[in-house]
């Protein structure tokens, strides 16, 4: 049974800003984040009965948001090119950790996440975008803290490999552009 209009409005009023902020951190694009926020609430309303109460409403919404944002990231085209052009894009859309050099850390995580296993993608979002502690993540996903740590280590190792090849491609493109 779908929620009443009042129930839907209340869900939006209580969590709308939080979900939007989260989508914005993950997607780093205000328009995409707003579209994602609407999609999250639309799916929540459409699947109202799928909330079984084992997690809080916020956890439920956050998981829907994570799934949708990962899909958005997966669907994006020219991700590497976007990363290259990051310097020219407007700053400040993200609210995550401060910038390191010319490319923000979250840009790196976002860019390399696409090729990862779904569980690694999810851990990366919880750790770098939501800034959860490893303990909080362990509770959220039902793993031990050491296992969370190991999986994050796997993420970093794979990210290192992807980044290395990505930046090599960047150099090659730059050389070709000069020729």
């Amino acid at each position: 049974m779908p929620p009443t209009d009042v129930q839907a409005a209340r869900l939006y009023h209580q969590y709308g800003a939080l979900i939007h902020r989260r989508c914005r951190r993950i997607l780093r694009d205000d328009e995409e984040a707003w579209d994602a926020t609407q999609e999250v609430f639309a799916r929540a309303i459409r699947s109202w009965d799928s909330w079984d109460g084992t997690a809080s409403r916020l956890t439920w919404l956050s998981r829907i948001a994570t799934n949708h944002c990962l899909n958005v990231i997966r669907d994006r085209q020219g991700r590497r090119a976007k990363l290259d052009q990051r310097q020219a894009e407007r700053p400040g859309a993200g609210t995550g950790p401060s910038a390191h050099g010319q490319v923000e850390l979250l840009d790196i995580v976002r860019a390399v996440m696409d090729g990862m296993d779904p569980d690694l993608q999810r851990l990366a979002i919880l750790y770098w975008f939501d800034e959860m502690t490893q303990q909080e993540i362990a509770v959220e996903v039902g793993l031990s803290v050491p296992t969370v740590r190991k999986r994050l280590r796997v993420f970093v190792d794979r990210a290192r490999k992807q980044l290395r090849s990505g930046f090599e491609s960047q150099i090659i493109r730059a050389i070709r552009a000069e020729q």
Binding site: A8, R43, I64, N67, H100, V103, I108, P118
Partner: protein, 290 residues
């Protein structure tokens, strides 16, 4: 480029090994949950204490609240709700949109299952204890402005299914439904009312002799709305907030004494905080009549 690569990877590595916050210090995710009124009473109380002691933390929460306010101003439900509901209706059935992948990728030792079952059992017992504790359900309503002491008790009137914030002293009519949100670091709440005839009513706790456990936070909605009756004059609401449960009978008696001495409007003039009944007392009133 190679140097940048190394720098970013070093940053990634540093973040991977970033230390957890000190014990008791709220994490960023805890702050988000605090603002959303999503924490249990004890946890929210701890966050409230941490905010009082750490200006940087308080500033971060202020920034989050400012972002909330900007979102609500730019995209209020009244403006986007219809389109959002239509979008939901157009979606196909999707089963579990919150489905998560299988995290159990690594083999576990046999004893871990027993440990897990034991933990789950303890958690189930704790959950039962929590379920039967007098916790009011969190019922989302429009987010108010936050962090002003005058905003401790915020009133809303329900109009055609939507909650519209009202100022203290707003004129309403019998039959209007009023709802409240509370911003407080305290974990216990008693809500009393005094109508124009001087009758003292108890709204929270619904039952029991002590003030109700409450999930402290900012703009936390109270369960259910109150329908104004036809009694003439002002309707005054008093929220008594504390870190320990209070005997409601004591509060009712104190309010009744003030009504006896000074009438219903005397309740408005009373310095309730100075009366020492509770660490925090917030008063809100509406006027009834056309």
């Amino acid at each position: 480029m190679t140097t940048l690569d190394d720098e970013t990877m070093d940053a990634l590595e540093r973040m991977l090994t970033r230390p957890d916050p000190p014990p008791g210090a709220p994490t960023p995710w805890t702050l988000e949950r605090y603002i959303a009124g999503d924490l249990a009473a004890a946890e929210a109380r701890a966050v409230g204490e941490a905010l009082r002691e750490d200006p940087d933390l308080a500033a971060r929460v202020e920034a989050l609240c400012a972002d909330d306010a900007a979102f609500e101003a730019a995209r209020p439900w009244d403006a986007v709700g219809a389109a959002l509901l239509a979008r939901a209706a157009a979606l196909p059935e999707s089963g579990r949109p919150d489905a998560v992948p299988d995290f159990d990728l690594l083999p576990r030792r046999s004893w871990s299952k027993a440990l897990w079952l034991g933990t789950a059992g303890a958690a189930a017992i704790l959950a039962l204890v929590f379920l039967f504790a007098p916790q009011p359900p969190v019922d989302p309503t429009p987010a108010p402005n936050r962090y002003k002491s005058s905003d401790t008790l915020q009133g809303f009137v329900l109009v055609e299914g939507h909650a519209e914030r009202i100022d203290a002293g707003a004129r309403l009519v019998a039959g209007d439904r009023v709802q409240f949100r509370v911003s407080t670091p305290h974990g216990y709440l008693a809500l009393l009312g005094v109508d124009g005839t001087g009758t003292v009513s108890r709204y929270l706790p619904v039952g029991g002799e002590q003030s109700a456990a409450f999930a402290p936070g900012n703009g936390v909605p109270l369960p259910d709305s109150l329908e104004l009756d036809a009694a003439p004059g002002p309707e005054v609401f008093l929220a008594f907030l504390s870190d320990e449960p209070l005997l409601v009978e004591d509060l009712e008696r104190a309010v009744h004494d003030v009504v006896q001495d000074a009438g219903s409007r005397g309740v408005l003039a009373e310095d309730w905080t100075a009366a020492g009944l509770a660490p925090q007392v917030s008063v809100f009133h509406v006027e009834k009549g056309d």
